[in-house]
C-alpha cells in the first residue's frame, strides 16, 4: 500500500513539472522590468479564466457534458468553474434547440449577465435553427441576442466545442478595453432592443 502511494506521488510530481503556463503578452522587456499595455494584461487574465454559463436545452448539451468531463476537460482552458448564475458568468454557451417560447428566457439570461460578456452558439440549432425549420423553433439565437462565435455541427464534437471556446478566448485576448463603451457596440445591442 505504502509503495503504491509513493509511486503515485512520484507520478504526480512528474506531471506537475509538465504544466503549461501561458506566454506573456507582447511587450518590452529589459533587466528588471517588463512593460506592456493594460488591455493585453487584462485580456490575458480574462481569457484564461472565463466562466461559462451553459444554456443546454437538448442534444448539443449532452456533447457539452462530454466536453466538460475528464476526457476533453474544458477546465484545461481556464473554464473549470461553470457559473449557473448569469451575474457571474463571462460567456454564455447556448447549446441546443431554442423554441420560440424559450427566446424571452434566453434574452433575459443574456441581459442579466454583466459586461464584458460573450456568446457562443453551439450546434446547428442554436446557430440557424438546424433541422427544425418549423413554426415553433427560433431560427438561430442571433434573432434575439448577438453572437460572437458559431460552432457548426449537429452536434459538434467536443473538439469543435473546444475550438469554438478557443476562438472566444482569442476574442477576449484581443478586445480593447473600451470596446464595450463604443457607439458600434451600443448600436449592436440597440438592434436587439437591449440597453
Amino acid at each position: 500500500m505504502l509503495l503504491i502511494l509513493q509511486r503515485d506521488e512520484h507520478f504526480l510530481f512528474i506531471n506537475m513539472s509538465e504544466i503549461n503556463i501561458v506566454d506573456a503578452p507582447p511587450g518590452t522587456e529589459g533587466p528588471g522590468y517588463f512593460a506592456t499595455s493594460l488591455d493585453k494584461v487584462i485580456g490575458l487574465a480574462r481569457s484564461n479564466s472565463l466562466w461559462p454559463l451553459p444554456f443546454a436545452t437538448s442534444c448539443c448539451g449532452i456533447e457539452f457534458m462530454a466536453t466538460m468531463g475528464s476526457h476533453y476537460d474544458l477546465g484545461r482552458f481556464g473554464a473549470e468553474r461553470l457559473s449557473f448564475s448569469p451575474r457571474q458568468a463571462d460567456v454564455l454557451m447556448v447549446m441546443g434547440t431554442i423554441a420560440k417560447k424559450m427566446a424571452p428566457v434566453l434574452k433575459q439570461v443574456y441581459i442579466q449577465m454583466a459586461e464584458p460578456r460573450w456568446v457562443m452558439a453551439v450546434g446547428a440549432c442554436a446557430s440557424s435553427g438546424g433541422i427544425f425549420d418549423t413554426y415553433s423553433v427560433l431560427q438561430g439565437i442571433d434573432e434575439v441576442i448577438p453572437v460572437d462565435v458559431y460552432v457548426p455541427g449537429c452536434p459538434p464534437r467536443p473538439e469543435a466545442i473546444l475550438d469554438g471556446f478557443q476562438r472566444i478566448q482569442d476574442l477576449v485576448k484581443n478586445e480593447s478595453g473600451r470596446r464595450r463603451n463604443s457607439d458600434y457596440y451600443r448600436d449592436l445591442l440597440g438592434q436587439y432592443g437591449i440597453k
Binding site: 440557424s128 435553427g129 418549423t134 413554426y135
Partner: protein, 166 residues
C-alpha cells in the same frame, strides 16, 4: 377473430343507444372507428365510460381536411383496460365555427389534451375551464397545424436556393 366479435358487440350496443348518430363504422387494423356528431359527443363519451367501461381517455387530437364542408375532425381515442380493447371516435366540425362541447366533464384529464388541440388547431371546446394555449408561445397568433399555414419559419435564411446554386 375474438377482437372482431368484441368490436361487433360494442357496435351493436352503441347503435342500440344512439341509433343513426353512430355512422361510418370501420375497423382499420382491428381498431373500431366511428363518426358521431357534436350534439351527442359528450353523451357518447360518458356512455362509453360508464356502461362500456372505456375508462381511459388516451388522447384527443384533431385533423384538418382543407376544402371539405366539415373540415376539422376532432378525434378521441379511448381504452378499455379490462377488456384490452381500444376505440376511436371522430367528430367532424366546420372550419368557420370550430366548436365542440368539452370532454372535461367526463374526464378531468381531457383538460390539457383539449388545450393542446385548441393551441394547434383552434378547436374551441365549449365549457372548458381554462382554454389557453399550452405548447406555443401566447403571441403566436395562429393555430399552426391548420394547413393554410406554412410549416417552415419564414425567417429562415440559410436554405435559400441561391446558396446552393439553384
Amino acid at each position: 377473430m375474438e377482437e372482431t366479435t368484441l368490436n361487433n358487440t360494442i357496435h351493436v350496443k352503441l347503435t342500440e343507444k344512439f341509433g343513426e348518430k353512430v355512422t361510418a363504422v370501420s375497423e382499420p387494423y382491428g381498431l373500431l372507428t366511428f363518426v358521431t356528431y357534436k350534439d351527442v359527443i359528450v353523451n357518447v363519451l360518458s356512455h362509453l365510460k360508464e356502461e362500456l367501461k372505456f375508462n381511459f381517455l388516451t388522447d384527443i387530437t384533431a385533423v384538418h381536411y382543407p376544402g371539405k364542408e366539415h373540415g376539422i375532425a376532432v378525434v378521441y381515442h379511448l381504452h378499455n383496460m379490462v377488456e384490452k380493447v381500444r376505440i376511436r371516435i371522430k367528430v367532424f366540425i366546420s372550419e368557420q365555427n370550430p366548436t365542440i362541447p368539452t370532454a372535461t366533464v367526463v374526464w378531468k384529464g381531457a383538460n390539457w389534451m383539449e388545450r393542446e388541440t385548441y393551441d394547434l388547431f383552434g378547436v374551441k371546446f365549449e365549457g372548458h375551464p381554462d382554454l389557453r394555449r399550452i405548447l406555443n408561445m401566447d403571441d403566436l397568433g395562429v393555430h399552426p397545424m391548420l394547413k393554410q399555414y406554412p410549416l417552415e419559419d419564414p425567417n429562415r435564411v440559410d436554405k435559400k436556393d441561391e446558396f446552393f446554386g439553384r
